[in-house]
């Protein structure tokens, strides 16, 4: 019964990353300028810069703390056969080293962290290959040899695929809202960095499994999007996509659940493979708790009661309306009549 339409709307307005604020975009400009100025001479290839990440896909949310991230992609006009991936990442590292006190080569990127909390991830691509594909430079100096490689990756295709998912623009809006709700749920419910599904993994789940939930009034022709229903739909589907695998955990064999979800674009890597079985189990349990709360909220007649339940899942940014604000306004105070009642025959 309860839809909490207004509450979901307000929640979405609160968590949505509308546009990058000036501080972040100026940080990006500074980083890009520094790379251009300080790129070592051996990096004799030109490059294009593009904004990647969830903001570009229109699925960005505000972080819970101040841990904003800025994603910068660099498309180098070079072939993966001509340059070692770690060498390419080292060019960027050298250009940025000393910019803040915390510059690190991480497995998929070079990260510059600012004392204020936010960070910039710079990724390096080889974009001029004989096979026409784009490759991402992976690996870190002390990492495993097999991790130091060029990985096929199509961030621009991914951005387009996610941004243009679903032909109807209102359906697409519901898709984006559902992604944002689940990403915020993840930030609220998974406290540690480890064992947390990534934003892009959740985005891909919604991409593959959400059936848009809307209802058109036959009289007025007005379409209402039911986000609570949509969440119930997609969370149920995610849960039913877990498979039981027979594996050894702490010396004994047992069935453990595992979810697999693929990136929507080539080469469609599986996005949850780094999660351990124990982390998977926790993930599934949290999804089940979420589903139960969503169903309970839907069964509530009073939107205030429903919102209380939803707030426990989505965090303090989910608004709980004062009871009176959920009701229509009366034109005038009713004039109360007297009344007569009886249980005897009148």
């Amino acid at each position: 019964m309860a839809l909490c339409k207004k509450q979901f709307q307000d929640f979405h307005d609160t968590i949505k990353l509308k546009e990058e604020n000036e501080v972040l975009s100026s940080k990006r400009d500074i980083i890009v300028k520094r790379i251009k100025d300080k790129l070592p001479e051996e990096a004799a290839y030109s490059f294009d810069i593009f904004n990647q990440g969830s903001y570009a896909m229109h699925t960005g949310i505000k972080p819970l703390g101040s841990d904003y991230d800025i994603d910068v992609g660099l498309y180098f006009d070079m072939s993966k056969d001509d340059v070692d991936p770690l060498t390419a990442k080292n060019w960027i590292y050298k250009a940025l080293d000393g910019h803040t006190s915390d510059v690190k080569i991480k497995n998929p990127c070079v990260t510059v962290t600012y004392a204020e909390g936010y960070h910039v991830d710079v990724t390096v691509y080889a974009a001029n290959n004989s096979d026409g594909k784009v490759y991402l430079a992976k690996g870190k100096p002390n990492g495993k040899v097999e991790d130091k490689k060029w990985d096929e990756s199509n961030p621009k295709d991914l951005i387009t695929e996610i941004r243009e998912h679903l032909p109807d623009k209102d359906d697409r809006r519901q898709f984006r809202r559902i992604v944002r709700y689940l990403k915020r749920w993840k930030d609220v419910k998974f406290s540690s960095v480890n064992g947390k599904p990534t934003g892009i993994a959740l985005t891909s789940c919604v991409y593959h499994w959400l059936d848009i939930q809307k209802e058109t009034d036959t009289f007025t022709g007005k379409t209402t999007y039911k986000d609570l229903e949509a969440l119930i739909n997609v969370v149920s589907k995610i849960i039913s996509n877990f498979q039981q695998e027979y594996v050894e955990i702490d010396g004994e064999y047992k069935f453990m659940p595992r979810l697999k979800v693929r990136l929507p674009v080539e080469p469609k890597p599986e996005l949850l493979e780094t999660m351990t079985y124990k982390q998977m189990k926790t993930f599934k349990e949290k999804l089940e708790t979420l589903l139960e709360a969503l169903e309970d909220a839907k069964a509530k007649a009073d939107p205030t009661d429903a919102a209380e339940l939803l707030k426990k899942q989505f965090g303090d940014d989910f608004p709980v309306p004062e009871k009176s604000t959920t009701g229509k306004k009366a034109m005038a105070a009713a004039v109360i009549s007297s009344s007569e009642s009886a249980s005897e025959k009148g």
């Binding site: 009176s324 009701g327 306004k329 109360i336 007569e340 249980s343 005897e344």
Partner: protein, 173 residues
């Protein structure tokens, strides 16, 4: 002591096992909040000496779906006349109570109907009840419909009245 236990048990049954959700012919919902139910339950005519009680229903019409919620009820006021089988509610006290709520909620509340008790297991509206309900419906309240709750000894039932008819509501499962 025994009676007190008995009373408690009865109340427990009502609050826990009956979801106070009723379905209207137009598929809208009436929800009676536990706070309101609790107030009404207090007047269940369990003892031989218990007299009929009643009051008005105050609540919301939801913006998102037009469903009805009874948030609060008034209780018998000093000028009301109560006997074993009759309840005569006056305007005094009930109007003031309603006005206070109306002010506090900035006009986002409505008079939604009436409640009263019957000293019978399963309540059946008397001819006096029905006649008075029709009279109230003819006064033309803003919501265009009214709800009438009767609390019997074992059961609470709700009738729904519009201009042309009064029907008993079914609970929503």
């Amino acid at each position: 002591m025994n009676i007190a236990l008995f009373v408690q048990k009865k109340e427990g049954i009502c609050i826990n096992n009956q979801k106070e959700l009723f379905i209207l012919p137009n598929n809208r919902i009436l929800y009676i909040r536990p706070e309101a139910i609790e107030k009404i339950n207090h007047y269940r005519q369990i003892r031989w000496t218990d007299t009929e009680a009643g009051g008005i229903l105050i609540g919301r019409v939801l913006m998102e779906d037009g469903n009805y919620i009874v948030d609060d009820v008034t209780e018998p006021m000093p000028t009301d006349k109560r006997s074993r089988t009759r309840f005569s509610r006056k305007q005094e006290g009930h109007q003031e109570y309603f006005n206070d709520v109306w002010k506090r909620e900035n006009g986002r509340c409505f008079y939604l109907g009436e409640w009263h008790t019957h000293p019978e297991s399963v309540p059946v509206p008397s001819s006096i009840d029905r006649k008075d309900w029709s009279r109230l419906l003819n006064l033309g309240y803003e919501t265009g419909c009214l709800f009438f709750i009767i609390l019997g000894i074992d059961e609470l039932k709700v009738w729904y009245g519009t201009e042309d008819k009064i029907i008993e509501l079914k609970r929503r499962n």
